[in-house]
Symmetry: C2
Amino acid sequence: MKKHNIILQPSGSRGQVEEGMSVRSAARELGVEIESICAENATCGKCMVLIEEGRFEKYNIDSKRENVSPVTNEESAYFARRSKLLKDKGWEVGQVRLSCQCKIRGDVLINVPEESRGNKQIVRKSATNREIEVKPAIRKYLVSMTPPNLERPIADWERLAKGLETSMGLVRGSDEKLPRWYDLTVDYQCLRGLSSTLRAAKWNVTVSVWQDKEVIEVQAGYVEDSYGAAVDIGSTTVALYLCNLRTGEMLAAESEMNPQIVYGEDVMSRIQYTIEHKDGLEKLHKAIISTLNKLLKQAVKSANMSLRGTKQSPTGAEIASGKERPRNDIKIEDILEMVLVGNSTMHHILLNLNPKDLGLAPFVPAIHRSVDVKARELGLHINPSGNIHVLPTIASFVGADTSAMIVAEEPHMQDENWLLIDVGTNAELILGNRKRLLCTSTPTGPALEGAHVEYGMRAAPGAIERVNIDEKTLEPRYKIVGETEWNTGKAKGICGSAIIDSVAELFRAGIVDSRGKFKKDLNSARIRQGESGWEYIIAWADETSIGRDIPMTQQDVRQIQLAKAALFTAARTLLKRSGLESPDKIILAGGFGSYIDKEKAMLIGLIPDCELDKVYAVGNAAGDGARIALLNVEKRNEIDSVTRKVERFELPTDPEFQNQFMLATSFPHMSEPFPHIAHLIPNRVADPLAKNFMTK
Amino acid sequence: MKKHNIILQPSGSRGQVEEGMSVRSAARELGVEIESICAENATCGKCMVLIEEGRFEKYNIDSKRENVSPVTNEESAYFARRSKLLKDKGWEVGQVRLSCQCKIRGDVLINVPEESRGNKQIVRKSATNREIEVKPAIRKYLVSMTPPNLERPIADWERLAKGLETSMGLVRGSDEKLPRWYDLTVDYQCLRGLSSTLRAAKWNVTVSVWQDKEVIEVQAGYVEDSYGAAVDIGSTTVALYLCNLRTGEMLAAESEMNPQIVYGEDVMSRIQYTIEHKDGLEKLHKAIISTLNKLLKQAVKSANMSLRGTKQSPTGAEIASGKERPRNDIKIEDILEMVLVGNSTMHHILLNLNPKDLGLAPFVPAIHRSVDVKARELGLHINPSGNIHVLPTIASFVGADTSAMIVAEEPHMQDENWLLIDVGTNAELILGNRKRLLCTSTPTGPALEGAHVEYGMRAAPGAIERVNIDEKTLEPRYKIVGETEWNTGKAKGICGSAIIDSVAELFRAGIVDSRGKFKKDLNSARIRQGESGWEYIIAWADETSIGRDIPMTQQDVRQIQLAKAALFTAARTLLKRSGLESPDKIILAGGFGSYIDKEKAMLIGLIPDCELDKVYAVGNAAGDGARIALLNVEKRNEIDSVTRKVERFELPTDPEFQNQFMLATSFPHMSEPFPHIAHLIPNRVADPLAKNFMTK
């Protein structure tokens, strides 16, 4: 068979393909996907390409329009309907072709315009600013069948499956003795509606296929889009993102309080609730399911509000008739898949698995690997044949949210050693690179989030979010959420980032010593003995909206010391087990990481020493990871395989843990060199304990 | 690696295996399965074999006990506990070994006693008297795990799956990069109970695996048996067979009227009901599901009644303690699979698929291929994770019951051409051999079953079941169901077999002519003009329990003529399309076939000409086929593949159909030579129409 040289731009893919192959097939053979939804019938126009003419020295080929088969009648008809588009783009027929129709006859250089490229990309803004390829688990195929007659009364499913074989371009069954379409299966509930849909649709349907193997939806006529939802179930907040599975576009983001909060504020108290109440698990499970159903409804509504008035890509028939239809509203049954993440307790409760053993030694989840289950089994009101994918858990306290963080940040793809920290009431840590990943977790308490601190509050209007203290005058400056200027507005409390700031500044200004104790001999009205011990007044009563002085107390400082010691000891343990001095990069996930001043966090020893511009805050990495796994099915196998290899360490079993923890309560962590913030460490650090460590 | 010669008796399998291999593994390598359920831990004792000593000239080997590894401590302990068994059998330790423990060191001849053989066989009594290998879809494995601890807190599912890898002897995953156990999946509802079962069972469980890939049940401790149910859903009767999936033994057979009968007597009127009533399908579906649930309950009860008092095979621990436990009652959740068959309408209603298009041209089922669906999706009350397998349909009027008949009779395995006929209100016919199978169906009306015949009734006490008419005196002799002597008892009506007899005898005795018309000039009081035309009195009023003469009327004869013409034309069409004169064998399935006199059936032309001793009645072949598919999973793929290749013919589209049908109403079918019953055809056949055909 004669072969020709093909170059594909802009990817630059090239190779030899056989004469007579369609340009679309040739491109696929060279690894370039070109869109098509009409089963190569020259009606959808999604596969347009440009045949570039000229001598391309770099590739040593002469590319000519005559080197592909002539324009067919079907193509002429299609392009006649799209004359406006061709004029706008400045393309002429013959240069622009439908790649499903034109066949290779000689060497050509083909340009695949952005809109025709398969496997679309979305950009994720993060430490790495990576592009994510859109490769959803669900693909749609248009299938047109000859209606059955007395001579060929083949059953509906078999008729559809044979049509799908063509539309999907199936080339090989798992068993050579079987027809190729025989590997396809159909969801039982989808099968139930098949016969009536095929007839109502006059045998022209769009079929949604999950993972290239299971038919989960059959819709009348030509339907372009399906939808999916990515969900991050936090102990406090549940966030849902509705996405178009074809384009990757995010159409709505909704969130709600986790309704389980009435059964217990943290995971341990919710586990306890399920142990103490016979119907406890059922209650918690139903609560999250009904919240998810509510969020799904809200998201569909929001998406429809913003999409209303925009147009759907027209079909060939619509272009021909000149009637392009407005976009139909998205219906909740158009959502064909959900990907969910959450810590192990949220994971178990979502799946109605008893979480008891997550809370009892030896702390074992029911399952690590990812779970796929039909929406109808969980009572989630998307399409009943739709799939629910839950990412894998790594350990009892390192859940599917951490798996999602790995998906989002990809430490397993790096040569450098990255330290990922998801900070919350519990902190999960991942350290490593492509060769080895270690993980652990540690309770940090609620202090870092502003809870259990006397005037702590969430980062809402009125919250002090930044604090500086002058070393000489010991006077503070602060910034309030919602204000643009410093020291303006009325304060209501202190949020997490300002708590870190305050503690760091108290230490830097020499108001507390390296053991976190207030110095009692300083000359400032702000430092005084309050009702519950020594304190430093950040805002006087008349600067507040609550009419009371807002202090940082000895007790508050102590809370932060314990939290940061736990976090630091966990990080130090992983570094030690990896034989590393410090990580090449630190990635802080979660809302908390986005607001804190990383220099100050390092100054108090919350995170290990690292170049400051290698410390990144990435926001809701778990939510991003869920969205990536929703849009790119290959990431699911990848994370299953990565999590299987992650090495887990339980801190309490580490013999040095208690000792390390105690040392880590000091400012900064005195057993460690902190070169990157050394200039901030006050000269006044001179107490014997500190000195001892500094000279080590 | 050194190799040794192994002979296995009684199968005679032989070959070379590597030194050091266990006898059980070696046997498997040579295609001989030896039982084991304890994961080769020397506790279940199911894998006992005998090492035979001596020089076996035939195989040219010297077999010695020393050619396998010495008796282990575990074996000694086991055999000590079973001393009674060894004494009874006359075996000594060293001769008898646990094949999982002893390793090949040299040439040996091994005897595998009946009780140790895997893949047990059941014998099916039929035309072929074949042995059916028991290869159920569900296998049980004992898994003992190390409990989790803080050092190895691996999740419950992964711990179980790794244990299963050993117990199942998995050797290869589908993807070499994945661990072998990773191909195993777990049913979602089964997963929900996993954690509590593992802990309650102290990490010793019996796991039921479906198709070697999906875990569907985990039970505490050592559990030997699981159960399955095979069901034939007839339009009139539903029959259910409860079987032990390990031994193949049938434990109970139950039947009930099909409750759908109140919605319509035949399939067409039930389809009509679903079209005319909005909730029609739902009602019919629920009716059959609740009858199946009732039959399941009854079957479990019957099985427990007959099993009570028998003993279960003891575990090692039980043997050691001397306490062998009585068999536990079977619970309905111990049923892990059902295989169901029925005509296409019964198939659709069972699966809650709209049967509308089965009854409307072009008569298309929703699906041909077999369906697997979870019991819980259908509301069947076996184990909710259990599988429901429904055999494939072939056409709108050739359903899963015909597929089951093929499974039972295996025409596709023959060199001869067999004609299979399932006679009922509708008859399905299969003709062919291993190279080609053809099928068709034809409505035969209810006459052959005794309905719509004036005094027709089912084969119940009081029914005339046999009729002879003396050619000279024209007097009848008859036999009544329940009587041992002829012409005794009181008659109540005529059942199907006597109707065939009567028509054949009326013809043979010259009372009706070859066109089925009564001769009016015969000298007998029994032949008279009754209220609805000419008739022949089989029993006078004083011989009956109903006090009325029981006749065969002209109308009755006409009914049989139409029915037999339909059946004969269908058979003739298939023969013609196959280029055959007559089939090598005729197999009559269904209750009807078992009762009729095959010679008389041939005399009236109900079935084509064939050697009489090649005509077999096989009873409920559909039920047998369902049972075979339940017990042998390989038959399921086989029938799916066979049915895909069966060629379907619709009679009404055959151009010669009407003509053939008209000719076929005569006695015998006059366009055909009937050499095998020629001696019975009366000389008096002399009317012009008949003559015309006889001389052809």
